[in-house]
Subunit: 332 residues, 2 copies
């Protein structure tokens, strides 16, 4: 039985996340029981939302515990199967966590095509892409000609939201955290405009790039950017509440945005939270559509890759500091 | 031509509203032009939302100006008509403002049955009742068995919201600003529970009366009560944003509630603002239904009355201090 290196939560962060909140250890040998499979992790994806899982009971992921393997979704190869319908060599998406090996009940596992790059499987065809797809199309419901604004626009979800909105015939404005990201959004991903929220002139710039105000605001951040968007919403605008990255990397979230609920009343704005899991019954349909858009060159997913399990904590911290673009992947 | 006493805005309030923000004066004589009618005000209604109109451009009512007649809706009798289809003696609902006489274009006026008490016309069959009706049924969409919470529950809109929700088979909890109001809600208006938000133990009491959490929260207040409700929402709960009375009586509104947008995401909550005017095409249908509920004893609208035009400023201040119950009416 091979060794199983794991990244565990060494201590629950009380301020901004640091690599020292994690440590690498050698786990116990694993063997699949009846109906189970032993899997070897090929790649992991890391998302900002996982930071919420380290915040305690305030999050939907429940309270964190130190000493346990950091959770996460991976692409894995079945090493040994005692589950019907799964054989050694099959490729699956699984809640592997940050470790080399993991054991899962075969029943709940999703087998994927072996030939497709794990970065695609975990990114645009995984939770990130599906979140963008259902959040924008089902919650935001943009119409052609409307203005769509997305925050964390160069992030795993945001960069897909913007491209899908363009496909729908919308005018698309991205909000991101560096001039480099803004340039990428406009020059390579087809956004009409992008503004850097760290720029001191952000509010004026934001106003200037939304001359017809905002019909759909896809919010990945909460906080000040949400507040800026609230003050620019059109009558009957929709705010898609997808994530709160501005509040994740702290144990002391700030107050809510000014203008709630007054501006919602005045402008008859709908603000709605969602989780992608609510749309699980329609994942297949969405994946097929996303894949066809990629094939036709209408959607260009981006990935930032890290090499080796030990890089996962650093990847997570860089992601939270805005240092990654598109889906963040750790290849083992 | 008779005199026309008027209440004008003497000075725009910078803190809590006081009667001294208004003054009574004698206005110029009025005569209707071609297509117009001269109306004598019989009764005025005052709503907390009018305080927003004195806050400047932050409100949907536009910036206030001192020296002008205070705006407002009244029931009036046509004294002289030069408009087709309207005759002296007709009773109309009109934007009379706080004055004895006013001139209006006949075209836009809504004639009402002469026999119905102006307090009903301006209250449950007017904007207050229609706001409760459409906000609850069309935006909140409560299902039988669900828990509905309403703030400012003894107010003009709130006391109708609660009763309509009971009719829909919901469990209804009111939040109000005094123990007397809470008793009235439970003992006379059929609310299942009511809690006083001024009580130091409010948060614990609020939790205790919402053991199954909240499916629909009808928010007339914003602020701390909205924040408390946000933390008690059920999965797929709906927050109907109707008014922000906690923020009206100030020129310096506070920050938004904590939990926006994080809790909206976690619990997939929809938070939606509306204005009753959006449903104008369906007012007739709603009035007929509300009237039928009153007739059958399923809806008991309440009114707090003041006598004389000079009482209007005091009525407004008392309303904002929570000193009135149901619709606030000034009879001239």
């Amino acid at each position: 039985m091979p060794g199983n290196r794991q990244v565990v939560i060494a201590n629950v962060p009380t301020g901004p996340l640091e690599p020292s909140n994690f440590e690498v250890r050698e786990g116990d040998a694993l063997a699949p029981g009846e109906g189970q499979v032993l899997c070897r992790t090929l790649a992991l994806t890391i998302g900002a939302g996982q930071r919420a899982g380290l915040q305690g009971s305030a999050s939907y992921a429940g309270a964190p515990v130190s000493g346990v393997v950091m959770g996460g979704t991976g692409i894995a190869r079945v090493e040994e199967s005692r589950a019907p319908g799964l054989a050694a060599g099959d490729i699956v998406v699984a809640p592997t966590g940050w470790q080399e090996l993991s054991v899962h009940d075969g029943a709940g596992l999703q087998r994927v095509e072996a030939g497709i790059d794990p970065a695609l499987q975990l990114g645009v065809l995984g939770t990130n892409g599906l979140t963008a797809y259902f959040g924008l199309l089902e919650v935001g419901r943009p119409k052609a000609g409307e203005t769509v604004v997305v925050s964390a626009a160069a992030g795993s979800v945001g960069h897909i939201v913007g491209q899908v909105a363009k496909r729908q015939g919308c005018r698309v404005v991205g909000v991101a955290g560096s001039d480099e990201k803004c340039q990428l959004l406009v020059k390579e991903l087809g956004f009409d405009e992008a503004v850097n929220y760290k720029d001191p002139g952000f509010r004026a710039a934001f106003k200037a790039v939304t001359p017809d105000r905002i019909d759909v605001y896809f919010d990945n951040t909460g906080g000040d950017i949400l507040e800026s968007a609230l003050f620019r919403m059109n009558l009957r605008g929709r705010i898609v509440c997808c994530g709160v990255v501005s509040q994740y990397d702290t144990s002391n979230p700030g107050p809510g945005p000014r203008g709630v609920p007054g501006l919602l009343v005045n402008n008859r704005v709908r603000m709605e939270g969602f989780l992608v899991f609510d749309f699980a019954a329609r994942y297949g349909e969405a994946r097929r559509e996303l894949a066809s858009w990629i094939e036709r060159g209408e959607l260009a997913p981006r990935v930032t890759e890290f090499k080796g399990l030990e890089a996962a904590p650093r990847a997570f911290v860089e992601l939270l500091h805005g240092g990654t673009i598109g889906t963040t992947i750790v290849r083992l």
